[in-house]
């Protein structure tokens, strides 16, 4: 709270906040081409204090997105490559006995960073997965009876490779719920790919990118995103959507209250990124697939080939009050 007050003093200027967001969007858009929607969503996810799950094939720029985010927003970055022999200690850290001093010393793991890229999270065993997910949930870790807080802001970007089925442990639904959003990268369009092929090396570009924001600024942005106005009319709409997911015959498991909260938080964050006077139905619709896609369980035998299609169907069937 104390910290919050200082942050407020330093970064309350609306113009300053706006400028940071616009510059971050521009910088990210310059590195990751043709993926404006994903960039905006991941920014919103970050501002809504949520964690992001990117699910797609290798080579589509998942890692690049995460790295760019940390670079542009000035966050400390750690990448954890999940493998089948990864242990919780490899994520959290271990206490090492220092013989010269005759005492244990905690060696922090990669989780003690502001932005974590958990690459191919489904390759690790459930034990290792849950170590990460618990840290995400609690914002702190306990080692040898000592509770250690994780840095602020704390943002996890996990990737999952849907193509590999052998020897993987896909995250169960209950764990998926820990991620605020799940997005897909998808192939770039022709023009973007051409520019990618002919243009400069993205890695070098990333190195040259200057950090524009501080972690303090990011906290202020997160606060502003929470303060976005939500009208009764919008809550009506969100409730109508949630009710539909619970009552529709196409859907076996609808959105939970936590899912509904996530929808509100993400809509507010997106409205903030888009500089809207309040959260609009357009914001709700824009975040809906990434919020609900991994939370809804379609009923057996429905015609929907992907969660995105199912979510779009929900949006098309619910009238905006």
């Amino acid at each position: 709270m104390q910290r919050g007050n200082i942050v407020e003093k330093l970064h309350t200027s609306e113009e300053a906040q706006r400028a940071v967001i616009e510059r971050a969007r521009d910088a990210l858009g310059g590195i990751i081409l043709g993926k404006n929607e994903q960039i905006t969503l991941s920014l919103a996810c970050l501002l809504a204090r949520g964690h992001l799950l990117i699910e797609d094939l290798p080579g589509l720029g998942k890692t690049m997105l995460a790295q760019s985010l940390s670079r542009v927003l000035g966050l400390s970055f750690q990448r954890i490559q999940f493998t089948s022999d990864l242990l919780p200690a490899d994520i959290i850290g271990v206490s090492v006995f220092r013989q010269n001093r005759g005492e244990f010393e905690f060696q922090p793991g990669p989780i003690f960073s502001q932005l974590i890229l958990a690459d191919e999270v489904n390759r690790a065993t459930p034990k290792a997965q849950s170590a990460l997910l618990e840290a995400m949930e609690e914002q702190q870790v306990s080692v040898d009876g000592t509770t250690r807080s994780l840095p602020e802001p704390f943002f996890v970007v996990a990737t999952q490779n849907p193509g590999d089925q052998i020897g993987t442990f896909p995250l169960p639904e209950s764990q998926l719920d820990r991620f605020l959003m799940r997005i897909q990268m998808g192939y770039p369009n022709e023009d973007s790919e051409r520019e990618l092929l002919t243009g400069a090396d993205r890695r070098l570009m990333l190195k040259d990118t200057e950090a524009d924001a501080s972690p303090e600024m990011l906290l202020a942005l997160q606060q502003s995103a929470t303060a976005v106005h939500v009208s009764d009319a919008l809550i009506d709409y969100i409730q109508a959507l949630v009710r539909h997911t619970r009552e529709s015959a196409d859907i076996e498991i609808g959105l939970s209250p936590r899912g509904a909260q996530a929808l509100v938080a993400a809509s507010k964050a997106l409205a903030f990124v888009e500089d809207h006077s309040g959260a609009y139905p357009d914001d709700v619709q824009a975040v809906f697939t990434s919020i609900a896609g991994h939370r809804l369980k379609p009923a057996g035998g429905t015609q929907f080939r992907s969660p995105a299609e199912l979510c779009q169907h929900v949006l098309d069937s619910v009238a905006i009050p």
Binding site: S231, A233, G278, Y280, P281, D282, V318
Partner: protein, 651 residues
């Protein structure tokens, strides 16, 4: 109670509504309530409001209990009973006022509104005028509004509340009408309204002292209305026979000793054409029934003709009744008056009115025959200085003496009384008939209005060979009274002296219209009893109507109507407009002529609308922007104004 708990002021907004509803429902009772109850009502209301306003605490249980007991005793003392309409409504009103003093929560307010509804209904037990119905509707709407107000949102305007209340009543109206028409009326009511014992009887009473009728003649109240089948007879033939007074005690005429006349069988011979008509008689709380002199047949149940051709009902006329009657204005009565009856009709108290008796005897012997004597007496009234006035001086005990020789001013009752005494003093059998004379024709409705001011007294004398026949001494003094009717005569006589003129044509027209409406209302609404219902059912095509058929029809109609109303409501249902911005945007959608898709956001709709190319892009953009700000942003009156302007300029 050690520490006084103040009110929290939470009822401050709804309490005035509850009080208004209570006030509206009490107003019809006010003229009948004792003054201390009205004062207590007013006081309690103010007291309660001040308590709420100043956050004071409500009076303690002891004080309230004491007040309740005191008020109960007060009513008991005032009315000397607690049953009946008068004390009942007084009790209801005062307890409602006391209930205000313990109104703490919304639940108490509901109780108060229930009492208000009871008060409105109990006012109908007392009187049902033409304006009672509109007033009833208004008070029910006010009570409904107060009811709705308790659960209303803070920003709801009074107009919205009233329109909601009115709409709810409108939905209920068809059901009420169906129940009113079809609920079986039966001749003997399930329960009888306890008639207020305190209510004075109205109209003519069964005795006549000087001043009785002239008091009546100040009253404009309708006594009865008559609808003639053919033409309305001339004013001089419109004698409405009521009761016959036979006993005189020196001051008061009364109808003592019903056996006196019953020993004599009076036969009436009708002459001329029968006159058929229908009378709607206002309640008098007395048994007398009025009909055109001389009644021949009538349809009122349990009503009999007395020995002197007066109509008497077996039970008092406590409700408005309508009956058909046939009369002959030409008739003669032949009675073989026996010695006993003859002496009965000649009897005078010995010591009373000595001057009159002496003069009568002198005049009789001077006249030579009974007929000549009657002529002479009428001539005396006509030619000597007698004045017809509504405000005669007081007369004292030997009233006829005082009137004939001293004051010489009087009203019909004085002349009738004096005439009868003079006849009896000369041994001519005479009696007084009380009833009404004349009446005002309402050309608008085609009926005759007979008012209390038309009350009249005249004489019947018995002449050997001719029987009883009517003599109206008032006609000898003031022929206008008989030819023009009471009110006109009054204006030309007394009224003119005071500089008054007859009511203007417009006012007259207005009062006639109201009277016509009132008559129709009485006839069709208040008079909708078993007979009318039976007629109506047959006209609707129900064969041989009985209560089972009516009940079944009623239940069927109610179920049907509820179904119909539900379907209509379901068809009419639109998702409620959340706010003004939504309404304005809907207007914009209408103007575009496009149909928004399900789940299509305003932004996407606007884009689609712009693609049609027919709409100015900038105004669509400004509308969309303003709409979003107004509807989804923080409260912003400017955004709504912008939206309104933008939608307005679209044309």
């Amino acid at each position: 109670m050690i520490q006084a708990r103040g009110t929290d002021g939470s009822l401050l907004s709804s309490l005035p509504w509850t009080m208004t509803a209570l006030a509206v429902s009490i107003v019809p009772h006010l003229p009948y309530l004792p003054i201390w109850i009205s004062i207590a009502l007013f006081g309690c209301t103010i007291w309660r409001y001040v308590i709420e306003k100043r956050r004071r605490s409500l009076p303690s249980v002891w004080l309230r209990g004491l007040l309740a007991l005191a008020c109960f005793l007060g009513v008991l003392v005032t009315y000397s009973t607690v049953s009946g309409v008068g004390p009942g409504s007084a009790l209801l009103a005062i307890m409602a006022a006391l209930k205000l003093l313990e109104t703490r929560k919304r639940r108490d307010q509901f109780v108060l509104l229930f009492i208000s509804i009871f008060l409105v209904m109990s006012a109908l037990l007392r009187e049902q005028y033409l304006w009672s119905f509109p007033y009833l509707v208004v008070s029910i709407i006010v009570i409904m509004a107060a009811w709705l107000r308790m659960s209303a949102a803070h920003d709801e305007t009074a107009r919205q509340t009233f329109s909601t209340g009115g709409r709810l009543l409108l939905y209920a109206a068809p059901l009420a009408v169906a129940m009113w028409i079809f609920f079986p009326r039966i001749a003997i009511p399930f329960w009888t309204v306890p008639i207020d014992t305190g209510t004075a009887t109205t109209g003519i009473s069964d005795s006549m002292s000087p001043g009785d009728v002239s008091k009546l003649s100040q009253s404009d109240a309708v006594a009865f209305r008559v609808k003639f089948e053919d033409t309305i007879p001339a004013a001089r033939d419109r004698y409405w026979r009521g009761l016959v007074l036979t006993v005189f005690n020196g001051r008061t005429w009364s109808m003592n000793d019903p056996f006196a006349g019953s020993r004599v069988h009076e036969t009436v011979t009708e002459k001329g054409d029968p006159i058929k008509y229908q009378v709607t008689l206002e309640p008098t709380h007395q048994p007398y029934v009025f009909a055109l002199d001389m009644p021949w047949s009538w349809t009122l149940e349990r009503t009999f003709m007395g020995p002197q051709q007066q109509l008497v009902s077996a039970r008092p006329i406590d409700q408005r009744v309508a009956y058909d009657a046939v009369s002959y204005t030409g008739f003669s009565t032949n009675a073989d008056l026996g010695n006993y009856a003859r002496s009965w009709y000649q009897r005078l108290p010995d010591a009373s009115n000595p001057r009159t008796q002496r003069v009568a005897k002198e005049m009789r012997s001077a006249a030579g025959s009974d007929n000549a004597y009657i002529e002479a007496v009428l001539r005396k009234f006509n030619t000597e200085e007698y004045f017809y006035t509504l405000e005669p001086p007081p007369l004292g005990n030997n009233s006829v003496d005082r009137f004939l020789f001293d004051t010489r001013r009087g009203f019909c009752e004085h002349y009738a009384s004096a005439f009868a005494v003079m006849m009896r003093a000369a041994d001519i059998p005479a009696r007084i008939v009380l009833g009404y004379q004349g009446g005002e024709v309402n050309s608008m409705a085609g009926h005759l209005i007979v008012r209390q001011s038309d009350a009249h007294a005249w004489n019947e004398v018995w002449i050997e060979g001719r029987g009883w026949y009517r003599i109206d001494p008032t006609a000898a003094v003031a022929p206008d009274r008989i030819d023009l009717g009471a009110s006109d005569a009054a204006f030309q006589g007394v009224g003119a002296a005071w500089g008054l003129s007859a009511p203007s044509q417009f006012l007259h027209q207005l009062s006639m219209t109201l009277d016509a409406l009132d008559a129709k209302w009485n006839d069709w609404v208040l008079g909708y009893g078993p007979d009318k219902q039976n007629d109506f059912m047959q006209r609707l095509g129900m064969h041989d109507p009985d209560w089972q058929k009516m009940m079944l029809t009623m239940i069927g109609l109610i179920v049907g109507l509820i179904g119909l109303i539900s379907v209509l409501l379901a068809l009419r249902y639109r998702p409620p407009a959340k706010d003004r911005a939504a309404i304005l945007f809907r207007r914009f959608i209408k103007k575009t002529g496009l149909e928004p898709g399900t789940g299509e956001t305003a932004k996407r709709f606007a884009r689609r609308a712009m693609q049609t190319g027919t709409l100015p892009a900038e105004s669509v953009e400004s509308i969309t922007a303003a709409y979003h700000d107004a509807r989804y942003g923080p409260t912003d009156e400017f955004a709504i104004a912008r939206l309104k302007r933008a939608v307005g300029t679209m044309g």
